[in-house]
């Protein structure tokens, strides 16, 4: 029997892309992946593409960096049909800066990077 005081939710697929063109050796910090204000976002996978190698790190919902050092893209970035699960579900609150990124080019050239954070948005209906 559902609790009458519990809010109802609708779950919908949601993907937050992050795209950047890095110059050789360029390092960017705290790149926001803004979460929509109308729904929390449960991150279930990461995939992407690039024209060269890069390293990245991103923040958990509590604001901590998930890794002690930047991770090589080939060690964490999955493919379109199978985004990499980074662990038990992480819920980013609506309106937050999301999985804020630190990213560094290690290709030695211009690098067009696209990263997709895929997951589920939970829309409150009542």
């Amino acid at each position: 029997m559902p609790d009458a005081n519990q809010p109802d939710y609708v779950e919908e697929p949601q993907l937050y892309p992050y795209t950047v063109s890095l110059s050789s050796g360029q390092h960017l910090e705290n790149q926001s992946v803004n979460i929509d204000r109308d729904a929390d976002f449960t991150l279930t996978g990461v995939n992407g593409s690039s024209t060269g190698r890069y390293t990245l790190n991103f923040r958990t919902p509590s604001g901590r960096l998930i890794s002690t050092a930047e991770i090589l893209d080939t060690d964490i970035i999955g493919t379109a049909n199978q985004p990499t699960a980074v662990g038990p579900p992480m819920v980013y609150r609506a309106g937050s800066v999301g999985p804020q990124l630190n990213i560094t080019d290690v290709s030695g050239g211009t690098n067009a990077v696209s990263i997709v954070f895929s997951g589920i948005r939970r829309v409150k209906t009542t």
């Binding site: 890794s67 002690t68 090589l72 964490i76 493919t79 199978q82 980074v86 662990g87």
Partner: protein
């Protein structure tokens, strides 16, 4: 496998990224190993637990550290207490796959338990080089390993190449937290 019962999609927890029922590469047919590993009781407990947070540790640090030819590096991972290790990835700087390699092993600092009975080559454990990267860039352990406080992982890396190279072992895991602190 053809006799496996149909599973109603409405019964699948799609919010769980580690649910083998939602990931094509981890299905019972595509990877019986991953399918079984993710249903290990400890894995299931982690997947459904509250009060835990994901952590990734890269060894050595910084991740672009050059290791000289023939050198052995023992990296003591600065993990937080009660770290659950559930997957590993190993790689080097090679894009052209000219088969530069290195050996590595991961040991529990307290119990001495090693993940591998002897150091294993990166090529063996790297899905990029095994042609199975579509299933995930890391290797799932058959059951998570708990580094109970004060234990931590020690990663030994041996550069068996004749050249200096950047080598990395990435540990995927999570730590236990009081739910109220998250």
């Amino acid at each position: 496998m053809l006799t496996a019962a149909w599973i109603d999609p409405r019964n699948v927890d799609w919010t769980d990224g580690l649910n083998p029922l939602r990931v094509p590469g981890w299905s019972r047919n595509n990877s019986p190993y991953a399918y079984a590993a993710l249903q290990d009781p400890f894995f299931q407990a982690l997947r459904g637990a509250g009060g835990i947070e994901n952590r990734i540790y890269v060894a050595p640090e910084p991740s672009a550290q050059l290791v000289t030819a023939g050198a052995t590096v023992d990296y003591e991972v600065p993990s937080e207490p009660n770290f659950w290790l559930w997957a590993i990835a190993a790689s080097n700087q090679d894009d052209d796959e000219d088969l530069q390699d290195f050996l590595f092993n991961i040991t529990d600092s307290e119990s001495g338990a090693s993940l591998f009975s002897q150091p294993v080559s990166m090529t063996t454990m790297n899905p990029q080089r095994n042609g199975t990267v579509d299933r995930s860039p890391y290797v799932l352990l058959s059951t998570p390993h708990l580094y109970a406080s004060p234990s931590y992982p020690v990663v030994r890396m041996i550069n068996t190449s004749e050249e200096s190279q950047i080598i990395r072992v990435t540990l995927f895991g999570c730590v236990e937290y009081d739910r109220r602190t998250l």
